[in-house]
C-alpha cells in the first residue's frame, strides 16, 4: 500500500510520519505542497509541524496549498486522510472536519505522554483498536483546544464521531475532552496527539500509536483481497 505524507513549508513530523507508515508495513510517499499530484497514493497523512510558521492561524495558509485541492477531492471521494496536530488544524480550516483548534487554555505549549481513550473504532484509522481501549500517545501543541458550537458537539457525540478523548487530564481545554474526530464517512480523521511518536518503544512512550497506521493498511489489504477474489 502507498501512503502519502505531505510536506508543507514548516512541516516537522513528516519524517516521523513516513517512518510510522513504513513500520506499519506500507510504502511512504513524500508529497510536496506545491504539486497538484498525489502520486497514486491510497491514503494521505497531513503531518504535524508549524506550516508557514503558523503565525496567522494554525493551518490557515497551508489550507490553500496546491496539493490540498487534490487532498480535498480525494477525501470527498472516500480516500483515508489522517491529519495529525497541524494536519488536524488544516483539516478544520478546509472544513473537511467541523470546529476549530484554539490556543491551549493555559496559554503554554505542552509536550507530554497523554492518556487517551479510543472512542470510535469504525474509522479507517482506528479499526485495529479495541473499542474503548486506553492508550498513551505523545501530545505536543500550543493550539490544541478543540472548540465547536453546541449543535456541532451534539452531532459529533450523537453520531459517534469523537474518535479519541483525553483521559486523566485534559491538557489543553478541549471541549468534551476531545482529542480527535472523524467525518461521517469515517475516512477523514483529525487527531491532536502524535501516534507517529509512539511506534517504536525505543524513541517514545511505547507503541500504542502504531495501530492508527496499521488500521488503514489492514483495511486496505482486506479490500484488495476482496477485489482480487
Amino acid at each position: 500500500m502507498k501512503i502519502g505524507v505531505v510536506t508543507f513549508p514548516g512541516s516537522l513530523d513528516d519524517v516521523d510520519a513516513r517512518r510510522a507508515v513504513r513500520i506499519a508495513g506500507a510504502e511512504a510517499i513524500a508529497l510536496w505542497h506545491g504539486d497538484h499530484d498525489l502520486r497514486g497514493v491510497e491514503a494521505v497523512v497531513l503531518p504535524g509541524g508549524f506550516s508557514y510558521g503558523d503565525y496567522l492561524r494554525c493551518g490557515a495558509i497551508a489550507r490553500f496549498a496546491p496539493v490540498m485541492r487534490e487532498v480535498v477531492d480525494a477525501a470527498v471521494g472516500g480516500m483515508p486522510v489522517l491529519g495529525i496536530c497541524n494536519g488536524f488544524q488544516i483539516l478544520c480550516e478546509t472544513h473537511l472536519l467541523p470546529g476549530a483548534l484554539i490556543r491551549n487554555d493555559h496559554c503554554k505549549f505542552v509536550c507530554r505522554d497523554q492518556r487517551l481513550r479510543i472512542e470510535s473504532t469504525s474509522t479507517a484509522w482506528t479499526s485495529a483498536y479495541a473499542a474503548g481501549a486506553e492508550v498513551t500517545i505523545p501530545l505536543k501543541n500550543g493550539e490544541g483546544g478543540y472548540v465547536a458550537d453546541e449543535a456541532t458537539l451534539d452531532r459529533l457525540e450523537g453520531d459517534g464521531l469523537v474518535v479519541a478523548r483525553y483521559v486523566e487530564t485534559n491538557p489543553n481545554g478541549s471541549l468534551h475532552d476531545i482529542a480527535g474526530i472523524a467525518n461521517e464517512r469515517g475516512n477523514v480523521v483529525g487527531l491532536m496527539p502524535h501516534p507517529e511518536h509512539a511506534v517504536e518503544a525505543l524513541c517514545g512512550p511505547g507503541t500504542d500509536g502504531l495501530a492508527f497506521f496499521a488500521s488503514v493498511v489492514s483495511s486496505w489489504a482486506a479490500a484488495e483481497s476482496l477485489a482480487s477474489s
Binding site: P9, G10, L12, D13, V15, D16, R19, G48, G49, F50, Y52, G53, D54, Y55, K108, F109, V110, C111, R112, P138, K140, G142, H194, E196, H197, E200, L202, C203, G204
Partner: protein, 759 residues
Amino acid sequence: MTTQRQLDTVTAAQQTPDVKQPWADLGLRAGEYARLQEILGRRPTSSELAMYSVMWSEHCSYKSSKVHLRQFGEQISAQMREHLMVGIGENAGVVDVGDGYAVTFKIESHNHPSYVEPYQGAATGVGGIVRDILAMGARPVAVMDALRFGPLDAADTRRVLPGIVAGIGGYGNCLGLPNVGGEVVFDPSYLGNPLVNALCVGVMRHDQIHLAKASGEGNKVILYGAKTGGDGIGGVSVLASETFDEGRTTKRPSVQVGDPFMEKLLIECTLELFAAGLVVGIQDLGGAGLSCATSELASAGDGGMHVWLDRVPLRDASLVPEEILMSESQERMMAVVQPDDVDTFLAICARWDVDATVVGEVTETGRLVIEWHGETIVDVPPRTVAHEGPVYDRPYARPSWQDALQAGSSADLGRPTSGDELRSTLLALVASPNLCDKSWVTDQYDRYVRGNTVLASPEDSGVIRIDEESNLGVALSTDCNGRFAKLDPFAGAQLALAESYRNVATAGARPMAVTDCLNFGSPEDPDVMWQFSEAVRGLAEGCRALGIPVTGGNVSFYNQTGEVAILPTPVIGVLGVIDDVTRRTPIGFQAAGLSIYLLGTTRDELDGSVWADVVHGHLGGKPPVVDLAAEQRLAEVLVEASWAGIVGAAHDLSDGGLAQGLVESCLRHDVGACIALLGDVDPFVALFSESTARALVAVGESEATQLAELCEAHGVPCGRLGVTSGHGGGAGLSVVGYFDVPLAELRVASTATLPAVLR
C-alpha cells in the same frame, strides 16, 4: 538622496583626514582607533569604522579572553586529537563518531538580550547556535538549554523566566528540533542578569564537512535567507563592550525578532545545497552580520573579496551602508559558489522560497573591498578585521575576599541528626527551586520530533539515535555549579566538567568531546579576570586529564548588575558516543526487587552544597575534592556495565547528594527503595554530601556479582545500599532506622514548587 550625499568613501577619507569620528561611542578605545588608522594608513571611512568597531568588540574579538583560551589548544594531546576532525576556531568543532559519521556541537550564550526581551532574546539565541551547526555542513538534530535565574520568588524572575522558556520552546519547537536537556538554576546573583546558554548538536557524513572560507578567485558570494533590516544595529558591540545597566536606556540594544519558520526553510534549503555539492564555503550571519561574514570568509580563504553592498536585499530601504554592514537581522547565510553552479544554487533556494542574491566575488587582492553604488566605501586587509583584532592581557589577581570565603566553612552549621530531622531536611531539599521537578519548563519543549530521542529530560543526559540501522547514537549533558566555582574557580570548572562527563557515562556513552560557555562578570575587574583565568586553566587541565578536547565554546563577559558580578559560571557540555542506543542506561528504577549499589567514595563534603544553601543560606569553605582519575574509573564501569547490559538504572550523584539521587530514581517510575546506610557513617553525610565521582546503580540479583567484579577490576568502591521496593500506590523511600517517606509525599514536594510561583 541623503544617503548618497553623506556617503563616506575611501577617497573622501583620504581627502579629509581630520574628520572627527564617533569611535568612542562605538566602543573603541583610543589606542584601538589609532591602530586602525595605522593599519589603513588613513582615517577609516564610517563604514570601515562600523566594521572594525563591531568586529573588535569583546563579543567578536575575544580580546580579553584570547590569551587564556589558547590553553585549550596547547593542552591537546595526540590521543585527544584522535577523533577531532575540526577544532576550535570554526563555527563549531567536529568529532568523528564512527561509521563515517561526524558530529558537531556547540553551546553559546544570549544573556543580555534575554533580559531585555526574554522571549525574542532566548528565541534568537537558539536560532543563532543552530545556524552555527548548520554552517558546518551538518543537519541540526537536537538542542539543549542551560538557564540561570535570580531567586524563584523574585518579581523579575517571574517576568523573565516564562518569556525565556517560551522563547526557547517557541523557536526550537518550530524548527523541529527536540530539546533533550539543560539546566534550570536559581541564585540571587543572576537577578537582573539571567543566563541563557543554548546548545545545538548536528550530524553529517565525513565528506559533508564545510568550512567558513572564501576561496577560488572568481567564485561568487551569495547572501541568502531573510532580508536585511535595522535589527540589532551595533547590538553586539554595545552589548559586549558595556556593562549592562537598566538605567542606561540609550545603550539598550535593539533586540532582534526571530523568524523560526524562515530558519526551518534555511535549514532544509542549505542541506539540499550541500547534498548537491554546490557550496565551496559557507558562513552564518550572527553577531556583526555582514561585517563578520565577509571579513571572516575572506581572511580564512584566499584573502580577497569584492562586495557590491547595494545588491543586499533590504527590508527597510532607508538603511545606510554602515547600518547594512552592522545589521544583525536573523536567518541569513552567506555561501561561496562556483560561477557555473550559481543558477542551480538560486533554483534550489527558489524552491524553498528563500531569497538569494549574488552580492560579491572572491578575489586574490588580499583586500576586502566593499562598493556602494560604484563608490568604494571599504578597502581593508580582512585579517585585521576578523583575526588580528586587539588582544589584552588584562590584570587579574586573587580577590582579597577569597581566603575569607574559603575559611568560612559549613562545618559548624547545625546538622540534622534524628530520623525526623533528616526526613524534613530531605523534603525541604527536594522542594527547593534548584532540586525540584523542572517539568513546568521542560514540558514546553518538544522532545519527540524527528523520532530519534532515546533519552531526554529528566534523564542524566540527552541521548539521540543518529543511525536507525546501526543504532549508533550520541549523548549530551550540560552542567555547572556556580557556587562551587565561586569558592574555587579552578576546581569549579573541573567539577562542572566532571559532572557533565559523569552524566554522559552514566547513560552508557563514552565521553568524547567538550564545549563550554564561560559566563563571567566584567573582565575589567581583576577579581573577575582571576576567576576567569582560573576556570580556563582548570578546564584545560581537566580536559587533558580526561583525554577529551574542548572543540569550541563561547565567552560571555559583563554579566553583572552594577558592581555585583554573577557567580562564575563555566557551563560545560560533554558529548559522548554510544555504539548501540538500545543499551543506554536510564535513571529510573524500573521494577521492585533490584539491588541498589553506591559506586564511589563519600566524604564529609558539604561546603557550597544545596543543603548549606537551602537550610542555612550559607556559601563558604572549599568545594568537594576533584578526582578526575576516579571519574575515569567510574565512567569505565558505567559504560562497560551498560554495554554488557548489566544495569537496569544508573543516576549520577551531584546536587543534593545520595538523597536527591534516590528520590529522582524512585519518582521516575514510581518505584520505591529501601536502603540501609553503609557502615557506621554519619547518616547526614551519607545522604547529603556532594562528593564527586559517585553514582547510584540498580541491578538484578543475577547481575550483582558481575557488577562487583567490574568495580573490582577498575578499582571503584561499590557498596550495596538496599533494594527497590513497592511499585505505585504504597511505594516509598525508607532509610532503615531513620525514616520512611511515601513517594506520593515526595512527588508533591518536588512538583509543587515551580507551578506554585509560575502558574
